[in-house]
Symmetry: C2
Subunit: 448 residues, 2 copies
């Protein structure tokens, strides 16, 4: 069993070690062969004799050798183990790799996005790609820990649902035995049900949306981070909890992934003591004043507005994040609470950061009769949502919650150009691992 | 905002407190009204005047009152706060509940399973039901922590897949834009891909199976706990990691949910220092000797066999769990490693406990050519599984892994009669929240 990771090798100077990993690069100087050996933790140079010439890129190997200090002149500052190298005394090929489709030994993979994704089974292991998903792990885990610190309980929301209740658009349909069923676009109804069970809940879930367009910031399958809690006195408690949560998450990323963020050469997300918040109408007024673009009667911000208001927040409030609140009633789901002091507008918020939406949230209607009336008014069919209705019929406390997209946060922390880079196996209307143009539409029905 | 949970009230004797929760039971004695107030943490008795007579079951209330010690005679040993009661000084109804469909104030809900599930939006909050899902949270979280302790990294596996690669049976089909796609029955291929990225990985996932029968131990949607790791010297390392993991999980449950397990009045799962393991053929021989039932030439254990071998392990090895290994090649997926020392049988194992399967695992073929040959031999179509093939084509270390069903573990820890009780929102061929006989098959296409 493997016991040593490559990153720890510099501490083992003078010792004999057994290393396991992949041949990242081979440099064959005839009598002397150099290998860059890679594992998940890093890369180290191995020096061996001509027998090592049989090794090729991505061969899986076990290498025995002595950890030797490099002389000053030969220190390699580009790798973290650059002060040492391994003088190989023996090696074994565990698995031979086939010839690679492109040069894999570069610091950055110089591939187009389609080629990067067409070869995801290989490209994910490149040292310029895999760290993205260590960041994703920390983002998700720190979301959990932030909320556990506040007495939230994690629950499992379902993927298969019986009704596309928030409107039929962009919902995937399943053949469910002799029935139709759908894939959940969000765990919204379930997290609300769970408020009446555990008061404070969160869930990490796959959410599925039949996004009919290919953009740089939409996926058909995303990992979303949802929280919901009851016994609130005001919608501001919901926004404050959201702020606490994102702040905690960013701190954890910068603490646990400092190396990765440094390697990516990206600036950190800056937060002031309090994230600024303003009503949609105030934001539109600011955008009008700054740019002359008059969207003051639009019910939402368009992508250009989102970028502009983020720039405003950065310049005027020294904040990379900004809350926009009070979206008009018609732009928010039927269960969103209307502000009694600002009729026509909701107790809702979006968190924008670096030009795009990171999170959405708000206070929900907790009174059964109000909820039912509103669903009717909006033409929402709740016939198959009986469990959701029960939760409200039999006593729901005042409550609210919020939802983050994990991929968007990772994308913005690492300043990736396309959200697909922040998803291990990104799905869109043209791709489910493979490009769907190439897919077998009519799969043969074979049994294993 | 709510700051005090009911379970903490006994420590606040003599103080004025603000409590928030649900009216669990009201006992109206005219001049004096007693309320059992419930929140997620417990129940406490509240004593008030006739004004409180307006309260009904499941009303959401805020109650202000003084925590008073009960005299010896009035201590209620049935509730954890039974040494105190709240002398109400004020109260407010936050949300009125409608009349309940059945008596909700009993210690145990006396309902049939269909009624329990038809009313899941209410029944989940009953104090005899909600603790099941605290246990589920600990089961899942302790799985994560067990593996993090061993340097595993969590990743997100997709739900939508382009091919039902392990055989077309029992796979849900999705309308994916102009294509067909499928729901993942397991994250198997993805966790194997991720071994070549992070070496040691785990994932918590929804797995979807079109189970065509209604049994007490199958769901169409389950939360499964998957682990996979590379650079193993032997399949025994995989089985040992699985043993370590389940042992860690059980210890965490018994540490963190001791009260719940005690309240359910169930015996703890007993493990000896080493969980016994035996080959399928050895198990069949034992069953034959014990019962005279001769299934020695069957390729698998049937449910009766599973119960019998669990009883044997309990009686002979003082263990509630037992590993069965070396299933025949034809009973395991095409990627399972054949034992070179026992041809025709695989380096695979199932973990059985209290009569049913808890986990399955084994060593996988890591050599590309072997894997491809075997897929062909078995008639497995990997045309759309290009990423999986890449992971092996370009160097996969020797590896293996295992998979648990979280609901089955919870079911067995709490000795529940039906796996549906261990799922918040159980799905089977007849139910997706509501009974499908009642569903709107043709949903109206409305927009919100």
């Amino acid at each position: 069993m493997k016991t040593i990771y490559i990153k720890d090798v510099p501490e083992l100077e003078g010792q004999e070690v057994m290393l396991y990993g992949w041949v990242h690069i081979k440099r064959d100087h005839k009598k002397v062969v150099f290998i860059d050996l890679r594992d998940r933790s890093g890369i180290v140079q191995v020096v061996g004799d001509e027998k090592m010439a049989i090794l090729n890129s991505e061969d899986v190997v076990a290498i025995k050798g002595i950890v030797k200090k490099r002389s000053e002149n030969f220190i390699n500052p580009k790798i973290k183990t650059g002060t040492v190298e391994i003088a190989a005394t023996d090696f074994e090929v565990l698995t031979k790799a086939k010839t690679l489709p492109f040069d894999f030994g570069k610091d950055k993979l110089d591939l187009t996005l389609p080629v990067l994704l067409d070869n995801r089974g290989l490209t994910l292991r490149h040292p310029s790609i895999s760290p993205i998903f260590k960041v994703q792990e920390v983002v998700i885990d720190s979301f959990r820990n932030a909320l556990k610190n506040k007495d939230f309980i994690e629950f499992q929301a379902p993927v298969i649902i019986s009704q596309a209740a928030e409107g039929g658009a962009e919902v995937f349909e399943i053949k469910y035995f002799d029935h139709k069923a759908y894939l959940a676009q969000s765990p919204q109804f379930y997290k609300q049900i769970m408020v009446a069970v555990f008061e404070r809940v969160f869930t990490v879930n796959k959410t599925l949306r039949a996004e009919p367009s290919v953009t740089t910031r939409h996926l058909t399958e995303a990992t979303t981070l949802d929280a919901e809690f009851g016994f609130i006195d005001s919608w501001l408690e919901v926004m404050n909890m959201a702020e606490y949560t994102i702040r905690f998450m960013l701190e954890e990323v910068y603490k646990n992934c400092a190396d990765i963020v440094a390697d990516y050469g990206v600036e950190r997300i800056i937060l002031p003591e309090k994230i600024p918040y303003l009503k949609l109408r105030e934001a539109q007024e600011i955008i009008f004043k700054r740019t002359g673009r008059d969207n003051r009667h639009e019910p939402d911000l368009d992508p250009e507005d989102e970028r502009e208001i983020c720039e405003w927040a950065k310049e005027e409030k020294a904040s990379d994040l900004v809350f926009i609140t009070h979206y008009p009633v018609e732009k928010r789901p039927f269960y969103t609470y209307e502000d009694p002091d600002d009729l026509g507008y909701t107790l809702s918020f979006d968190l924008l950061g670096k030009g795009i939406e990171w999170m959405t949230g708000g206070q929900r209607m907790h009174q059964y009769d109000l909820l039912i009336d509103n669903a009717k008014k909006r033409g929402i069919n709740l016939d198959n949502s009986e469990l959701y209705l029960q939760a409200f019929r039999y006593g729901m406390p005042p409550e609210g919650g919020f939802s983050f997209g994990s991929e968007r946060i990772v994308m913005k922390i690492l300043n990736l150009a396309n959200i697909r880079e922040a998803s291990l196996f990104p799905r869109d209307m043209e791709r489910v691992d493979i490009h769907l143009g190439n897919a077998n539409h009519e799969q043969k029905d074979k049994k294993s």
